[in-house]
């Protein structure tokens, strides 16, 4: 699990570097919004990550709860596992549990349904 996490961290860092410093990618409207008239399941992810990097945790939760959750659970798992493997201070690494992933899926579904309910039923855009 630890090595799988390292691979995904590397891919994520590379994708972020390309997005942030690489070739200019023109911004296009979300296809999900245009085609289906709804927010997509990942809507707010970039804003949540930006808010989190600026220390605005509650704002990040509002944009997309999966991002702060992934940072806390994934980050905690990787850091504690890394410290245990390095033998730093008798730290015991977190153990992997499948519910980590099921909660992640639940947050995506919750974000998708919740935001679209606000938009379609009450007309509140986010």
């Amino acid at each position: 699990m630890f090595y799988i996490g390292l691979i995904f961290l590397g891919i994520g860092a590379g994708a972020w570097a390309v997005y942030r410093f690489g070739v200019g990618i023109p911004s296009m409207p979300c296809f999900f919004d245009r085609v289906f008239g709804m927010y997509c399941p990942g809507c707010g992810g970039t804003r949540a990550l930006t808010a989190l990097l600026h220390g605005r945790v509650l704002e990040a939760v509002g944009y997309h709860p999966l991002i702060p959750y992934a940072v806390v659970v994934g980050g905690g798992f990787m850091v504690t596992q890394g410290l245990e493997r390095l033998g730093v201070g008798h730290v015991k690494g977190w153990r992997y549990h499948s519910w980590y992933l099921y909660v992640g899926i639940g947050l995506i579904v919750l974000n998708f349904i919740g935001k679209n309910m606000f938009r379609l039923i009450w007309g509140i855009t986010m």
């Binding site: 200019g24 296809f31 245009r34 997509c40 399941p41 992997y96 549990h97 499948s98 992933l101 995506i108």
Partner: protein, 194 residues
Amino acid sequence: MGKKICPICGYRDEGDAAYCRECGAKMADSGDDVWSAYEQRGQYSSYQENPSQASSGDGTGQYSGYQGNPSQASGSSAGQYSNYQDYTSKIPYQNTDDYGAGSGANGLQIAGMVCGILAICSCCCYGVPAVVLGIAGIICAAMGNKSSKNGVGTAGMVCSVIGLTLGVLASVYYGMVISQLIQMDYMDEILDMM
């Protein structure tokens, strides 16, 4: 008693760990008859005290003596396992990465599920990342499901298929939009503005 002992490597845990922190084998109560017998014989304690001695000899590794005398190894466990290989083949988690997991999911299934989740979330990024992650997730989940099928593998496959579908739809949509912009000579202006 609350004290556990690993039947494979002899690691002792004062806590209530279900799996060995050293080798990943299922822990047994040190008070159980079979392991008490092992402790009394000192089969594992000798290895712990002098690993170099245990691993020397005929080159078959640290359990060479154990393998060489299956009847002694089975001890009071009523011959359930005839040798060390038979016993270790029944151990659910031998990879230290997975010890204590208790989920039964293997690494490929977990990777497939993570790819599926990321594919769904990245479908609006021109669709390309979702297509790549969706295909990777399907391959990982399918390969993982070959060895053992469980909820994580199935969820990974479902998420990956959804992510791939959304990614393909997004790619087609953005492809059509960009081709229209190129035909209308707007794309150069957009790129110049970047």
